[in-house]
Symmetry: C2
Subunit: 641 residues, 2 copies
């Protein structure tokens, strides 16, 4: 965390200086905004939190609720989400209050007495730690949203949601500076009964499975109808079931099954209880299942154990459906390439599926992390509008993969024990596919943002199109071993990691030549950075030498790796790393000893891998991504006036 460089900070350093001098940030929702976000769920809040780092973009986020979410349905937090929380400054806090899944247990009917369940297996979650250095957590969605709200409030744009408005209609004009017109109705507090017309440059619908925004842009959801019902309950109970605080898949001889998810705080747990096939002619019957009936089902399934429920925090009945839209924006297939999108949808508005793979909130967060910086770059004048077309292209595929995965998992969860070929089939599937639900299987296809694999062999551990998997190196200036990926905040910046060739800092080398080009060439992407902004305002450039930190002479390191920043033009020394002798990042990530350049997007995905000599290729990659026109206002991270 860097601070004090704009002057001494006495209070919480997570509260960044407010920025955007001269920008109107009215208390009440204004009539014109740059971005209007509908819905304060994960998709809406993450996009808003990201845009809060762009203080010259006016972003507002509305919700029909009158205030913060009190209790949400989602609770599964995959490691990729925790990695994302790290970028939004709250991974440590959330981890401290969450339930941490280290093992999943499987229960099945006892062969000798199928009326009784017995433990059939234990699977360790990410046993080798190969998937991620972040944990797999369970915590209520409401708390995740609280943390994103805090990040927004701490950000330079000082944003907070406008509660108590719902969308009534949305229209997109063919032209104009604010072509999207939305009609809102007040739903709570002082807003109640109000009718508002808001004009926006862009609108995001994060308004859930029944999205009005989706409907307005003519998207439809396609997929199968639900035919299996589940009761879900968050309860406080005493029990003799010995694994009550461990995630369990429980299959009973009577045919029912339970997915048990222990919750944060040491006592609460969630059960997804199998209610069986839905009678298509009488759906109402199953939907009116009471909490007492759900508890009775649960008790039958876990026999010979039993539950004594003392308090019910929440419960619901739902049917599993898998549905998906074919596009995540308002550009019809026939218009692709001729116009760029003005309206987007994200999260449940695009994809619905069962809750039991614990994916919904996580995929929504990544939808938003993908979109947020793109809106920020376009509105900040850094990038052309064509950047926005990549959102639907990239995320629709991810949603389709999710639906396919979830169909398989939830079908297996609903199968009777005798339907499995092998008793350990469910457990094997869980272990074999662990990288998917952890959130790390996403691999973006080549596009304007994702290069082809030409130079992938220079950095085999940083697959192009996948998220940058952090590794450790030693920060030279303070000798701290650091995960270099964890130094990447969600600040909207591109990152260029320069892995040096063999010569030490100060000696002639390809790394030194590359640094010189990056610093001084008119073709360098850094040349696009506004002259009144900090040198590292748009691109965060770090170098990792092959030497250990005691053999890196900080004074000999090229200046592009030690930018001078802020009103005092202080030298930032924290971008220079040496390899850890015991855990060499060059070995850990398959990096060429001839060096490599790894380009990482603001949402942490690897965009390109290049040789240190490929300056033309790097310039060509960034040319269509960078807008040549000057910034419309003050850039994020720039020097406040």
């Amino acid at each position: 965390m860097q601070f004090h460089h704009h002057g001494y900070v006495s209070g919480d350093p997570k509260v960044e200086p407010a920025a955007g001098v001269g920008i109107d940030r009215p208390e009440d929702l204004p009539d014109e905004v740059d971005v209007l976000i509908v819905g304060t769920g994960p998709a809406g809040m993450v996009t808003a939190a990201q845009l809060a780092q762009f203080p010259n973009v006016t972003t507002r986020v509305i919700d029909r609720r009158g205030g913060r979410l009190e209790i949400g349905q989602a609770d599964g937090i995959q490691a990729r989400s925790v990695e994302t929380f790290q970028a939004f400054d709250f991974a440590a806090e959330l981890t401290a209050e969450a339930y941490w899944i280290t093992e999943m247990n499987f229960w099945k009917p006892d062969d000798e007495d199928p009326s009784r369940i017995v433990r059939s297996g234990r699977a360790v979650d990410d046993e080798t730690g190969n998937i991620s250095e972040f944990p797999h957590l369970i915590v209520n969605q409401a708390r995740v949203l609280d943390h994103f709200a805090q990040f927004m409030a701490n950000s330079p744009a000082r944003m907070k949601p406008d509660f108590g408005y719902e969308l009534r209609s949305l229209e997109v004009a063919d032209e104009g500076d604010h072509p999207v017109t939305v009609q809102l109705a007040g739903t709570a507090g002082d807003n109640e009964g109000q009718q508002r017309t808001i004009r926006a440059k862009y609108v995001l619908g994060g308004d859930g499975a029944r999205s009005k925004v989706r409907e307005s842009i003519g998207c439809t959801m396609a997929g199968n109808q639900a035919n299996h019902a589940w009761g879900v309950m968050d309860v406080l109970a005493n029990t003799d079931f010995p694994d009550i605080r461990t995630k369990c898949a429980i299959q009973s001889g009577s045919g029912g099954s339970i997915l048990l998810i222990p919750r944060e705080g040491g006592y609460l747990f969630r059960m997804y209880v199998d209610l069986g096939e839905v009678d298509a002619d009488n759906k109402r019957a199953i939907r009116s299942t009471t909490i007492d009936e759900i508890i009775a089902h649960a008790n039958a399934i876990i026999h010979p154990y039993s539950l004594d429920v003392r308090s019910v925090a929440w419960h619901s009945v739902y049917e599993v459906g898998h549905r998906l839209t074919d596009r995540f924006d308002d550009v019809l297939p026939e218009d692709i390439g001729t116009r760029t999108p003005r309206v987007f949808i994200a999260g449940d508005a695009c994809h619905t599926h069962s809750a039991k793979a614990g994916q919904g909130m996580n995929v929504s967060i990544q939808d938003a992390f993908n979109l947020g910086w793109k809106l920020g770059h376009v509105l900040d004048g850094r990038a052309p509008e064509s950047l926005l077309s990549t959102y639907s292209a990239e995320r629709q595929v991810v949603a389709k993969d999710l639906i396919d995965f979830d169909k398989e998992w939830s079908t297996m969860m609903a199968m009777k024990p005798e339907e499995f070929d092998d008793p350990s089939e469910l457990e094997d599937f869980y272990v074999r596919t662990a990288e998917f639900p952890a959130g790390f299987m996403t691999e973006y296809a080549p596009s304007m943002l994702t290069a082809g694999p030409t130079h992938q062999d220079l950095a085999t551990g940083f697959p192009i199109g996948k998220r940058f998997k952090s590794a450790t190196a030693v920060r030279v200036c303070d000798t701290n071993p650091k995960h270099i990926g964890h130094q990447a905040r969600a600040d909207g910046r591109w990152r260029i990691y320069v892995f040096a060739d063999e010569p030490a800092a100060g000696a002639p080398s390809r790394a030194a030549d590359f640094a010189e080009w990056l610093d001084t060439s008119a073709e360098s992407p850094l040349a696009a950075t506004p002259s009144d902004a900090d040198r590292d305002a748009w691109f965060d450039v770090k170098v990792v030498y092959q030497q250990d930190h005691t053999n890196v002479d900080i004074n000999a390191v090229p200046t592009v790796f030690k930018p001078q920043v802020g009103p005092f033009q202080l030298t930032n020394l924290e971008k220079v790393y040496g390899a850890l002798p015991d855990d060499d990042i060059f070995d850990a990530r398959g990096l060429s000893r001839d060096g490599a350049v790894v380009v990482v997007r603001p949402d942490q995905y690897v965009a390109h891998v290049l040789p240190l000599t490929a300056t033309d290729e790097l310039a060509a990659f960034f040319a269509p991504i960078l807008q040549s026109r000057p910034a419309v206002g003050q850039a994020a991270g720039s020097t406040p006036s």
Copy 2:
């Protein structure tokens, strides 16, 4: 972190339920309080934070300042303090914002050209990790105080400081329920000009080196006068000195020296700059040294490098003195044993020394952590007043050791290079004595709170009288590997760790017999717990089995290790541990395979080690510590009504 067991918590779980129904907690400072704390420095705030866990004790903390501290002098955070912050719920947050010392570098004059300094050595801070699992940090005192204030505000007593009052006088009467009378004067805000008379049961003076409370109880400070002056500055600067972000001791050929302490945030650093001997006849001259002169001295010392200071956050000139009081309370030596104390002093009010060993704030925190629970237990009716006599007895010795250590360190820091016998003498001293400044050398002598070493061989890794050094075990219920010591919050409870003998849970064993006695015997310390409080309200009892978690049958574990708590009487399953096969706590802490009982005080010091059969000895140990009369009100941790 445990929550939800009193019903679903939607918001921040660190905010505990407010408690103390029927207790008057007026907004304004009342005329009568249980404890009045003078000063919101580390000593005062930690004591207040601890007492905030005792909602039936009325504690108020005053300060002559009108609000929170903006910038403080102390910044060194030893590992023991971070361990303490863990108990107060904020170690992770503070670590994230602090500077982390991993290495200390030493610079001395170049043999060939003594006008130039060269790096002579690097010392890794706690290289093996043997001293502590917590880091050695640098962060401003103001932020530490903010976090303690937050803990107070989140605690059941919902406390906040009363700013804008200073102490004018203090008198202790021989009798009465509130025998201490203090006169306060308003100093800021609405209080200005007010005169108040407050009557208290106890008063703590955490009012600094010129303590009025100390003066009121007739304590004097003895020690040597300062004769060496230092300039200290917190600055933002650019420099070619390569180790500017690493802690350094720099000795120049010209005779001056610098202690360089990098500060949090990546840019700010502190320098203690040697200003030489103080001319006793002209102290004013050195005290009026300007910031420009300090910078000039610094530049001369670091030649051939130089500093370009861009902003000065703070600076001061001070002379090193080492002074100590002979007692930390108002009981004269001749009255010891005939009366118990009513007034205490802590922190700088008791001991002053140089800042450069980074000890002041840390020792003050431990003074307060020692005293806080004792006041809480006496006022809560758990313990007799004699407990309070142990504070001065225990802490005065620690302060004396500190003064001795600091004299040695600061003398060496002020020595000229040619005065050392060996050029690496300073570096050797730093490495050799590392456990002391890390805060772990404190070892309380036998007393009513600290048993003798009779059974120490049963748990050689938990030395009696020293702080409980955490180790890892697996929590059985959720299969989470945990540092068992980190589960100990600063909640004022005694902890009894039962390390089981060889039989597994459920089999006849000494551990099972001990558990039965603890649960049911009238002689058990647990029998003192009020019947209307949770079973674990006064004693947190945990068990660690020798088996790994897959071989501990949670249903066979004795009930004393699975208390039922809260309004729903839910079973707390989080007190049962198994050994980690790869890092067996029995081996790591030298625990007997015949089992052992380790008793740990609320301030984390080991009070006793006993065999599992020594029930009489355990009962005898607690007899003088536990008050037989009933609690005066609602106990901390009890069931709210």
